[in-house]
Subunit: 209 residues, 2 copies
């Protein structure tokens, strides 16, 4: 990389939009969700775009988006496993909306799967809350009403993960990326400069390949 470029990876809005569209084809074939849970703020854009590509498998109407707010505290090298679990902070959570998850295929949506800590937290805590709701139903109905969770992220960083997802949770990513800094267009002020840097990065990479 030349000194004109910071070595960050970037993608334009249109590239990310198109990536989500391609992932939607696989998600529809292999999983066909009928509800989205967006993890805010990073999951808001992907969830909204995904809704354009995926319709409700039966009604063909728009798929509802529920939002949760999670934020991951910076971890120190000395952070213990126990502390880490506590460092996902809920800024918003589902209340009565938990009921809307029953009997659904619920796709949890975020922008990037880095340490997987946030995703592990989201799946585990939503499953817990759902189990509480299920206890209010007759026992015979519970299995049928237990949601099937799935996960979609725009990018999966190829790196050792701290968090884990249950084996029966389908996992989709738009693309796997190396473990270097990725700038999303919604994070930058000058989006045209962002696009220019994305283009420059691609050219430098092609040259060095």
């Amino acid at each position: 990389m030349s000194e004109q470029h910071d070595g960050h990876l970037r993608a334009t809005y249109n590239e990310i939009h198109t990536l989500i569209g391609k992932a939607a084809e696989r998600i529809e074939k292999e999983y066909a969700p009928d509800l989205f849970v967006a993890i805010g703020g990073g999951g808001f854009f992907p969830a909204r775009v995904l809704r354009t590509f995926l319709k409700h498998p039966k009604s063909k109407k728009n798929i509802s988006i529920q939002a949760i707010g999670l934020s991951l505290y910076e971890e120190l090298p000395s952070t213990s496993e126990e502390q880490m679990a506590n460092e996902v902070v809920r800024t918003q959570w589902l209340g009565p909306e938990t009921k809307t998850l029953l009997g659904r295929k619920v796709l949890i949506v975020d922008e990037v799967d880095d340490s997987r800590t946030t995703l592990e937290y989201a799946v585990r805590e939503l499953q817990k809350d759902v189990e509480k709701e299920l206890l209010l139903l007759p026992e015979s109905e519970r299995d049928a009403k237990r949601p099937k969770f799935g996960v979609f992220v725009v990018h999966n960083k190829l790196k050792p993960k701290r968090g884990t997802l249950p084996a029966d949770v389908p996992y989709f990513s738009g693309a796997d990326i190396p473990d270097i800094w990725f700038d999303y267009p919604w994070e930058v002020k000058d989006v045209y400069e962002h696009d220019r840097m994305a283009e420059l990065g691609r050219k430098l990479q092609a040259k060095s390949a």
Copy 2:
């Protein structure tokens, strides 16, 4: 307009991003919010982008986004005022998060202000819930803790509005647009074709001007 063009208005992601950035300057100067409430799904993208441009006025940290889900039922010509009020359907609402609104300047964010029905509903119902929270505080603290609501929409359609907003609620829009169909990039599958049509629309408009 030629037959190659459907007469819809369009904007690219980058144009909308930049529009939000410009609005953010005015919003910061005139209002300086410290909490966002995004109306999903249309308000998700604008709220996420707005957070890039506006920092918390005191801490300079990220501004939290709370999400609510509202959907407006199609109105029939015969729909009465009373029915209309009922036709805003809550798909998600604030529970314990209502407390986070106390003492804040809360900017409600949506993509387009069409009939203003959804915005009226959001402001009125959030104000109601806040008043309930205030009643739990000593009377002497209530006035100071009453949130100051504001509204931001990417586009305001110039048309007679069915809904109204309280006079003391600051209102910001990225741009005023005529009352014709507006296509957002997150609503289309082929975003490059969307950009091509946006460009074509601009050219045709320049020619006819």
